[in-house]
């Protein structure tokens, strides 16, 4: 396929993180993948042996893909061979996201996020709401 040219005068990105991509120029395939195990604790406690992805189905099971039921034959007419943008400003690109200036054939992104929260109560101490007897 014949692609258009992208003209961007200036681009500003503040943060790029967690297997995200900022690409200037043409590309063939972009396949970013991010597994995130997010733990929020009431106190600053860190165990370095934590987060075995294989213990959760969320990180193991394949993601279902849509089934193509009809074959679509597409033809393109580019009346103007350029896409012009003067200025782009982005605060953040994160977790297998893509900011691409230029043409590409395939972009296939995947992000799996598991959130956990731990609130500290010593053994035998009840929740204050439970102690008051109110629902």
């Amino acid at each position: 396929m014949y692609n258009r040219n992208s003209i961007v005068d200036a681009a500003y990105v503040n943060i790029l993180g967690f297997s995200s991509i900022f690409n200037i120029g043409d590309s063939r395939e972009i396949l970013p993948k991010a597994n995130v195990f997010a733990v929020q604790r009431e106190a600053e406690v860190f165990y370095d042996n934590e987060g075995d992805f294989s213990k959760y189905d969320l990180f193991r099971l394949p993601i279902p893909r849509p089934i193509k039921s009809e074959n679509v034959v597409t033809s393109y007419i580019h009346e103007k061979p350029f896409i012009r943008t003067k200025f782009v400003k982005i605060l953040a690109v994160s977790t297998s996201a893509v900011f691409h200036i230029g043409s590409t054939d395939l972009i296939d992104m995947e992000a799996r996020v598991k959130h956990n929260r731990q609130l500290f109560r010593p053994k035998g101490v009840l929740d204050p709401e439970e102690q008051s007897g109110e629902d």
Binding site: Y56, N116, R117
Partner: protein, 58 residues
């Protein structure tokens, strides 16, 4: 099915984006195929109240 796309003049002056996150794409250009998958899980049992324990130890 036959499908025809006519791309006319495209001229953008200013574009401000706060965030592109969790398998999303911001593209200035042409693309044939895009697949974006995102899985997010916060079940009720993800809130643990009690003494701290390591989660999914290796």
């Amino acid at each position: 099915m036959n499908f025809t796309v006519v791309n006319k003049d495209l001229n953008v002056v200013f574009c401000r984006v706060t965030a592109v996150a969790t398998s999303s794409v911001f593209l200035i250009g042409d693309v044939n195929n895009v697949g974006a998958s995102s899985v997010f899980d916060t079940p009720p049992e993800s809130l643990i109240i009690g003494p701290f324990v390591p989660l999914a130890p290796q």
